[in-house]
């Protein structure tokens, strides 16, 4: 089984492909653009915001709604101590029945409790609520009125600046037009009246800046700062920064925090602006609307043998596996890369010459019996099964210490189905010869 998943069960970073921007990354982390026929890694893809969702209740919302809610979920609350999810717990209390004083009613009251640090809303003195959700009110922000005054002042400043900018533009136009109109001899005042019809109002007197006057006298420091220092009662800095509106110094004032929303992003190719990766609308779904992963379009290369470290300057036999992701048979050519092109290479590799044939990917193959025939006409192929082959190469490390790194160039035929759909009359998919640069890290040299 381990031989079937060479890349995944062993180190994922063993085989790295060179992306079109020059960076190396494993094939599992790259995208493939079908329109420009090139690999795109995480860094040469432009990321766009798709939507926001809450990690707990999986409620999705667009960017505008998220902005209104300040990137917080309305329903889900987090523990202020450890930022873990709060779960609702019920406790039954007996309440005197107003109708019959002898039989007390049992009423269910709810409180929030953290699973990790065992914090409850009772710790801050919040009374239990009769309903499970919706009654967990946030405390009022004490500074809200001051913030609103400041926002109003700055908004008025911004509008004044905007008007001035427009007036400058208009006055620039006005100067050219007065020159023009000197020839006709019109009076300037009529020009002013014509511009006022554009709707520019005269400048309003600016609002007074809402400055808080500094205190002349400060009250003396209360005695409790010197006597009572209960460290277990004071909040830590991360806990205070999670509630920037109040930043309470005492743990008894820490209220539950609304959970922050998580971003979902689209990946777009920087070359041709096509979407490479677009997730499904439902946050809980693992499907994609558009999924152009490199794994589905570029042959996957992995290391099969040897498991032991290679010895210095000894030509060892290394077996790599190549698997075909497409549903058309492909041909593959492997060529070594010279050391001049890449700096990290510490070993030479002699891959097999000639064309390697790979069968199409067959989804039913795993349910059928493995066919022993069809070993193929290629000499270098050691093992073949449906769309996967194992190929023997020989590797000679140059350096006595460090990692054995080899570089290969892989050329293969890519069947492009996109272009076939777009052009009329052509039923066969367009076949293009693509080539990728591979870097394989075969582990450290045997000391």
């Amino acid at each position: 089984m381990a031989a079937c998943l060479p890349g995944l069960l062993r180190n994922i970073d063993l085989v790295k492909f060179r992306c079109s921007c020059g960076k190396l990354s494993p094939i599992y982390r790259q995208y493939f653009c079908r329109y420009c026929l090139s690999l795109r890694c995480w860094y040469c893809v432009s990321h766009e915001v798709d939507s926001y969702f809450c990690g707990n209740c999986l409620e999705s919302m667009p960017s505008t709604e998220a902005k209104m809610k300040r990137n917080r979920c309305g329903n889900c609350l987090c523990c202020p101590i450890c930022l873990h999810n709060l779960s609702v717990r019920a406790s039954s209390h007996s309440v005197p029945n107003p109708a019959d004083p002898n039989k007390p009613l049992s009423k269910k009251l709810y409180y929030l409790s953290c699973g990790q640090c065992r914090w409850t809303t009772r710790d801050i003195g919040m009374p239990d609520k009769p309903a499970a959700s919706g009654l967990w009110a946030d405390p009022e922000n004490l500074h809200m009125s001051r913030i609103e005054v400041l926002i109003e002042f700055y908004q008025s400043l911004a509008s004044i600046e905007k008007l001035e900018k427009q007036r400058k533009k208009v006055s620039a136009r006005r100067r050219t037009l007065t020159m023009y109109d000197r020839q006709t001899g019109r009076r300037r005042s009529s020009l002013v009246s014509s511009f006022s019809s554009l709707g520019l109002s005269t400048s309003q007197p600016p609002m007074e800046a809402p400055i808080i006057s500094p205190l002349s006298e400060l009250p003396p420091l209360s005695e409790e700062f010197y006597s009572s220092t209960e460290l277990s009662d004071s909040s830590t800095l991360p806990q205070r920064h999670a509630v920037p509106e109040s930043q309470p110094p005492s743990r008894r004032s820490l209220n539950p925090i609304h959970r922050q929303l998580v971003l979902r992003r689209n990946a777009r190719c920087r070359g041709c602006d096509h979407n490479l990766c677009k997730p499904d609308y439902i946050p809980g779904s693992i499907k994609f609307k558009i999924e152009l992963l490199a794994l589905h379009h570029v042959p996957e290369v992995g290391l099969v043998a040897p498991r032991n470290p290679l010895a210095f300057s000894v030509e060892s036999r290394v077996i790599i596996s190549i698997s075909n992701p497409s549903d058309q048979p492909t041909s593959l050519w492997l060529q070594p890369l010279s050391n001049r092109e890449l700096d990290d290479v510490t070993a030479t590799i002699i891959p097999p010459d000639g064309e390697l044939h790979l069968a199409a990917k067959d989804d039913m193959a795993e349910f059928e019996e493995p066919s022993s025939g069809d070993a193929g006409t290629d000499d270098a192929v050691v093992y073949r099964r449906s769309n996967k082959i194992h190929v023997a190469t020989s590797v000679t490390p140059h350096k006595p210490a460090g990692d054995v790194v080899v570089a290969l160039r892989m050329a293969y035929d890519y069947h492009n189905t996109v272009m076939a759909l777009q052009s009329k009359g052509e039923t066969a998919a367009k076949v293009s010869r693509l080539s990728q640069t591979l870097i394989l890290n075969l582990g450290s040299v045997q000391l």
């Binding site: 101590i81 450890c82 990790q116 640090c117 065992r118 914090w119 409850t120 009772r122 710790d123 277990s232």
Partner: protein, 197 residues
């Protein structure tokens, strides 16, 4: 860890009334289990260098190791008992070596408590947390998180009465139980009271 080639300890097991001890659990040495306690299968209670006394209403889940094993250099030769109080919950995979444990404690999954720690009442040792310091944890301490942060909780953990009830009814229908000479209720209360004092 229990060495199979160590000195063979004479197993003497006394189980209180209404306690449920599964046959598949490994109990070695002198062990007294209080009433209403439930010991799941695959639990290991090993009293190597001293007896183990477990109080009432405790819940000892699978793969739990309660081991009374002295250090090589200290307290050699003395047979110190390992005492666990009442209504504690030892969740799956935890390891308790502490000589003194009070009531209403919760040791979460895969937590470990060393021999020199003393757990008082109402403490919660979080999942995968390892506490081996030579100290007595204050009442209602909660140790949680990757960095073993601590805080004091306001309420003690609820005793798992419903769970104990359910298990004492369900476990016998799927597992064989260990039966030992029952000790009377009065003597069990007095023994736990005298040992915790």
């Amino acid at each position: 860890m229990a060495n199979p080639t160590s000195v063979a300890v004479k197993t003497s097991l006394r189980i209180g009334p209404q306690a449920t001890v599964c046959q598949d659990s490994e109990i070695r040495g002198e062990v007294i289990i209080g009433p209403k306690t439930v010991i799941h299968p695959k639990a290991r209670i090993i009293a190597e260098s001293g007896p183990i006394i477990i109080g009432e209403g405790n819940l000892v889940e699978e793969l739990v190791t309660i081991i009374n094993k002295c250090d090589e250099d200290s307290d050699r030769g003395q047979r110190v008992p390992l005492i666990i109080g009442n209504y504690n919950v030892l969740e799956v995979g935890c390891r308790l070596e502490a000589l003194g444990t009070g009531d209403y404690n919760v040791l979460e999954v895969k937590s470990q408590v060393g021999r020199n720690t003393v757990l008082s009442n109402g403490c919660v040792i979080g999942a995968m947390c390892k506490v081996v310091t030579r100290e007595t944890l204050p009442d209602f301490t909660v140790i949680y998180g990757k960095d073993h942060e601590r805080r004091i909780q306001h309420e003690r953990p609820q005793p798992q009465l419903l769970q104990l009830d359910l298990l004492s009814k369900v476990l016998p229908s799927y597992h064989h139980l260990k039966k030992a000479r029952n000790i009377s209720r009065q003597s069990s209360v007095s023994s736990t009271a005298s040992s915790t004092n």
